[in-house]
């Protein structure tokens, strides 16, 4: 029943906003008639950080003279979310925004994005259930159209694996063993590193382990950041860091780039978008990397998680929500748009048919001609979880807690508990109803 109330409320938002805007576009009610294209010209602004988005938008503008979209390239990351929330609060938001999956719930909670169910439902079939869940948050509403996703795989230096005589680890136990072997053979070389600055990566690995950090139970949130799978994961990495067989340098620093270039780091459990960063950060090791399935917790399983990925959402304060939603749906499901996204933006499309557009391996992986086929196979077992309304708090706490744990070589399990407590405390303070 509660869900219905949500949907009704969202419809009310759309109607109120439509009236106050005084625009010919009339909100959710008319959208039932699919071809009610606004006759008056509308202009939409779209904040995103997809490389080459101007070209995709140009294709839309050419075909839709009445709905002119302007793409504005923004900085991605945490402060992009803050910037959008501030703009929304001031009543001055762009019509469309790129919303990372973990940020979307906070946008919804701040009433900054609109329910676009009417325009989204027709394209629902284009996406897998797991991805779709990330834009509905498990409610009846739809808060965005999925754009890209980041199923995780295992990247490794094939040449150096040979050199150090190690096999591709099938399980995390084998990974730990390989870490010891490598570090013993050359104390300057590590199999991998634990990054205390990348909660997204840890969350992906937690998803692989079967964690459910947030979930909705009835009309209350359930938070379980220190659930059993996550704790197992934390203790595993904590043990390796303490033992000294895994490095603790953060990802995406000049030092990490250098280590990758110099062959001092042999693996990176990362997402399907890794060829981009690898090509720019470790150009010297081009053609030496190969991919495999993430190591599993139990031999024979096929699980993975998601790291990154985003959707396109329509601002609740937009005067042209229907037109904006139409564009968002086109952008992420139309074959022409998808082809451009793949080509210009190096996007790994969330739409299932998008994967078939990926034929030629990334240049960096020219040594793996069937890169996309392999990647799709390894990523097929990826499972996600619902993100809560204060992922930003949890992620910030992650960095502080794991920085400290990595520095002092103290318990990673305790660090996880710190994050859980900080997240729960923040939700309690804000007044969210929490399930016990």
């Amino acid at each position: 029943m509660h869900m219905n109330r949500l949907a009704v409320a969202a419809l009310a938002v759309a109607l109120v906003a439509g009236c106050s805007g005084g625009a010919p576009e009339s909100g959710a009610r008319d959208s039932a008639a699919p071809s009610s294209a606004p006759t008056e010209k509308v202009e939409l602004t779209y904040w995103n950080w997809v490389p080459g988005m101007e070209k995709v938008v140009a294709a839309w503008n050419a075909a839709n003279p009445n709905i002119k979209v302007t793409s504005s390239t923004q900085a991605g990351g945490d402060d992009a979310a803050t910037k959008f929330l501030t703009a929304a609060k001031a009543g001055n938001p762009p019509d469309l925004i790129q919303a990372e999956y973990q940020a979307l719930p906070s946008f919804v909670a701040a009433e900054a994005v609109a329910d676009i169910k009417a325009q989204a439902d027709p394209v629902k079939a284009e996406f897998g259930d797991g991805i779709w869940g990330l834009v509905t948050l498990g409610t009846d509403a739809v808060y965005g159209i999925p754009q890209d996703s980041g199923p995780m795989l295992f990247y490794y230096r094939a040449d150096l694996f040979k050199k150090y005589g190690i096999a591709v680890p099938k399980t995390w136990d084998e990974y730990a063993e390989a870490a010891r072997t490598v570090h013993q053979k050359d104390p300057k070389v590590f199999l991998g590193t634990f990054s205390s600055k990348d909660p997204g990566s840890f969350a992906g690995l937690a998803q692989q382990a079967g964690a459910q950090w947030w979930s909705i139970s009835g009309d209350a949130w359930k938070v379980a950041i220190d659930d059993e799978p996550s704790r197992k994961l934390a203790d595993y990495w904590g043990g390796l860091v303490k033992e000294g067989v895994i490095d603790d340098m953060p990802y995406f620093t000049p030092e990490w780039n250098k280590a990758l270039n110099d062959g001092k780091l042999l693996t990176w459990p990362s997402a399907i978008w890794a060829p981009g960063p690898l090509a720019s950060n470790a150009p010297k090791s081009k053609g030496k990397w190969e991919i495999a399935q993430l190591p599993q917790w139990n031999a024979g399983e096929n699980h993975s998680g998601f790291w990154g990925g985003s959707s396109v959402a329509v601002a609740a304060g937009s005067k042209h929500k229907e037109a904006a939603a139409k564009f968002a749906a086109w952008l992420n499901t139309d074959p022409e748009a998808l082809a451009l996204l793949v080509k210009e933006g190096a996007v790994y499309p969330a739409a299932t048919k998008g994967t078939s557009l990926l034929t030629e391996a990334p240049e960096y992986f020219s040594n793996v001609p069937d890169f996309w086929k392999q990647a799709a196979e390894y990523g097929a077992g990826a499972r996600g979880f619902t993100f809560g309304p204060n992922v930003n708090v949890a992620y910030n706490s992650f960095k502080d807690a794991f920085d400290k744990a990595a520095l002092n070589k103290s318990s990673f399990g305790d660090a996880l508990k710190t994050i859980h407590d900080a997240t729960v405390a923040d939700m309690t303070k804000s007044g969210f109803r929490l399930a016990q």
């Binding site: 969202a10 929330l85 909670a109 209350a220 995406f252 620093t253 309304p389 400290k404 969210f432 109803r433």
Partner: protein, 295 residues
Amino acid sequence: MNPRARGSLAPYLLLAPAVTLFTLFMAVPIGYTVYLSLRRTLVSGLGLGKGSRKEVFVGLDNYAAAVGDGELWMGWLRVFGYAALVLAVMLGLALVFALMLDTARVRLARFSRIAIYLPYAVPGVAASLMWGFLYLPSLSPFDALFGVDLLGQSAVTYSMANIAVWGGTGFNMLVLYTNLRAVPQDLYQAARIDGASELQIALRVKIPILVPGIILTTVFSIIATVQVFTEPTALRPLTNTLSSTWSPLMKVYRDAFVTGDLYSAAATAMVIAGISVVLSFGFLRVVRNRAFGEA
């Protein structure tokens, strides 16, 4: 001293632009910040959907939380140690450089002046990358020289202080130098004719003239250093020794820009402002009579 413009409107008219700008872009936003610091959002239920989130008045709750936050006080302790170091070195160097620039016989003064000021011109966007290359163990040309991890727990405060000194010396140097240039040169000429050496002129003539300038540079530097933010923020992505609440202003930034709690950020910012007032007035009280010598 005179321009006693009896009841004249002139000074008010001349100050009107500044006062108008101050009112619009400082006073009103500050007032709004104070207002925000007394409020916070309250969510009901799942927090999804219309009307589930409203802003409520909470009195001084945010202030109580800011003052009662142990981490914030740890931040103050860290910042005071750091500030003492930065202020002493930066202002000392700035004074020495300014006096030397102003000596009669210095060569290459123009080159040195621009070189010492140039760090101020490096945009913060590149700072993290740049210091990464200069500090990170596998990249730093100094790693072998000092034999310590410059971003390790023992050295990181000094590494940050170095960034602040590097970036701020030129600015303060120019303030003091310009201050010296505004002094009639006859004073020095007279001293020279009396046979005073450049060092004696510097110590006996220039420094006393500079005292008000030095005092106010110090006050401004105290305020800026207490609000330290840029340096730890640039280094934080590179090391696990700096938390997101290393300094009080970092906590403000985190609340306002990362976790989206503008209300706590506003309250903490007011606490920072209060402490800045106490420190700068405390300092001024100590050196009181010399500060506004010119007025």
